[in-house]
């Protein structure tokens, strides 16, 4: 069953067209890596998947929800789709536990005790059980990002989106976040990630999609796409000698 069905999507910011007819399908349990240069449209495509960016034409269906700009539809969609951002975006006035419990309580009507059990579960999944009562400010970047992942997991999503989630982190903190994501992939979570971590894409992603100038330039099994690129653009992007 397809979790993501994107069909011929066009998207512009003002007069600049950033997505020029993109189609993509993600099957249940699949991990898809979106790679490409800055400005290639990969983050925009990801953000279109949960309606953060409206599209001009084409259609997107995610986890059984048609993605449009109707507030009610968007909320239903977002109960099933988690997104993690580059800048973590935790709520600084709430503790880690409160960050995680907020939405399950108010959008899904969980009782405090149920929400707490759920929060403890997802927090242990990202290895931060002892940080339940800490404030985001007192955590490292890597820890904050893991809390952000836990916060999304608490919604029990059918799809997780990751938007360059390690780009703001030191190399050593990157590792701890990637490890959490790898475990999620092993547990069968359907994931789409925009990333600059080629090794991670090769190792964890089933499919790698190379975007260039607002189009899907090349895509296929990660190993194949990343080791034997066909187009000169991808060759120069992954640093393979063109001879």
């Amino acid at each position: 069953m397809s979790v993501v069905l994107i069909d011929n999507v066009h998207k512009s910011f003002g007069s600049v067209e950033v997505l020029k007819g993109v189609s993509l399908t993600v099957e249940r349990g699949q991990v898809v890596a979106l790679i490409g240069r800055s400005g290639s449209g990969k983050s925009t495509l990801l953000r279109c998947m949960n309606g953060l960016e409206p599209i001009q034409s084409g259609s997107i269906e995610v986890a059984g929800h048609k993605v449009d700009q109707d507030d009610k539809h968007l909320r239903e969609l977002r109960k099933d789709v988690g997104i993690v951002f580059q800048s973590y975006n935790l709520f600084p006035h709430l503790t880690v536990g409160q960050n995680i419990m907020l939405s399950p309580r108010i959008t899904k009507g969980l009782k405090t005790a149920e929400a707490k059990t759920l929060a403890e579960k997802v927090l242990s999944q990202v290895g931060l059980s002892e940080k339940f009562d800490a404030y985001p400010d007192n955590l490292s970047g890597g820890q904050q990002q893991r809390v952000a992942i836990a916060r999304s997991l608490a919604m029990q999503p059918r799809l997780m989106l990751f938007d360059e989630v390690t780009s703001a982190l030191d190399p050593e903190l990157t590792g701890e976040v990637l490890a959490v994501m790898e475990q999620l992939a092993k547990d069968g979570m359907t994931m789409v990630l925009v990333t600059h971590e080629m090794n991670f894409a090769r190792k964890v992603a089933d499919v790698t999609v190379f975007m260039h100038q607002g189009k899907i330039w090349e895509s296929g099994p990660s190993q194949e796409v990343l080791t034997t690129p066909r187009t000169p653009e991808l060759k120069s992007f992954v640093g393979v000698d063109i001879k």
Binding site: L52, E76, R78, K79, F85, F91, H93, I106
Partner: protein, 218 residues
């Protein structure tokens, strides 16, 4: 007949303080409620609503409070609606407060990083829930120091209502001075009383700024 500045006069002054405080309180609470609503409407998705509230704020900020006061006291009485001085005073000060607080709070709401909107929207919160659980708690923190700063201005600006015959601290000082003609002593006492109210508020504003970590980066 001249009387000297004694205990009776001092008591008269001090008891007039309660009117200053009461007026400040009514204007601040009333204006605050109105200002809060306007601040949020000012950021509405509807352009028409944004324009209306922006116009309200601009108009009120561009005319002296005194004119609002004259309009609600003399103007309305000409139109047959005679407001008691306390009501006219509270009404005009409340309107004045609402326009300023709306701007302070709008600024505070806009100072919350837009990523907080995105993150909370992505967690399926409605716009109302976003305001209630995510945006306003952070905006309050940002707005507290300037809000308390504005409150200090308000305490002093209540003196303006003496022109419609309302006897608050400043007007009481004038009345006592008319009887005793000891301006230095009397207005010194009046100034001291204002200071005793405002100084702790200023300190509170500074303290809040420190404990609420205003301006820390996220």
């Amino acid at each position: 007949m001249m009387t000297s500045f004694g205990w009776a006069e001092a008591f008269f002054l001090v008891s007039a303080v309660r009117w200053t405080i009461l007026l400040t309180f009514i204007a601040f609470v009333g204006g605050g409620i109105l200002g809060g609503i306007i601040a949020i409407l000012r950021l509405s998705k509807s352009a028409a609503v944004r324009r209306c509230t922006a116009t309200y704020i601009q108009v009120i900020q561009s005319i002296p409070v005194l004119m609002v006061l004259f309009l609600s006291y003399y103007g309305l009485s000409l139109a047959g609606l005679e407001l008691p001085p306390l009501l006219a005073a509270s009404l005009s000060l409340g309107i004045y407060v609402s326009a300023y607080l709306a701007e302070i709070w709008r600024g505070a709401i806009e100072a919350v990083p837009f990523q907080q909107w995105e993150a909370s929207a992505s967690l399926a919160l409605t716009r109302g829930q976003q305001y209630r659980y995510v945006i306003i708690p952070q905006a309050l923190r940002i707005s507290l120091p300037p809000t308390v700063g504005f409150l200090v201005q308000l305490v002093k600006n209540t003196s303006i209502v003496s022109v419609v015959g309302f006897v608050e601290l400043s007007r009481a000082g004038q009345l006592v001075n008319n009887a005793t003609f000891a301006p230095f002593k009397i207005f010194g006492v009046v100034a001291l009383v204002y200071f005793l109210i405002c100084f702790p508020l200023s300190r509170l504003s500074r303290y809040l700024e420190r404990v609420l970590h205003v301006g820390r980066a996220h």
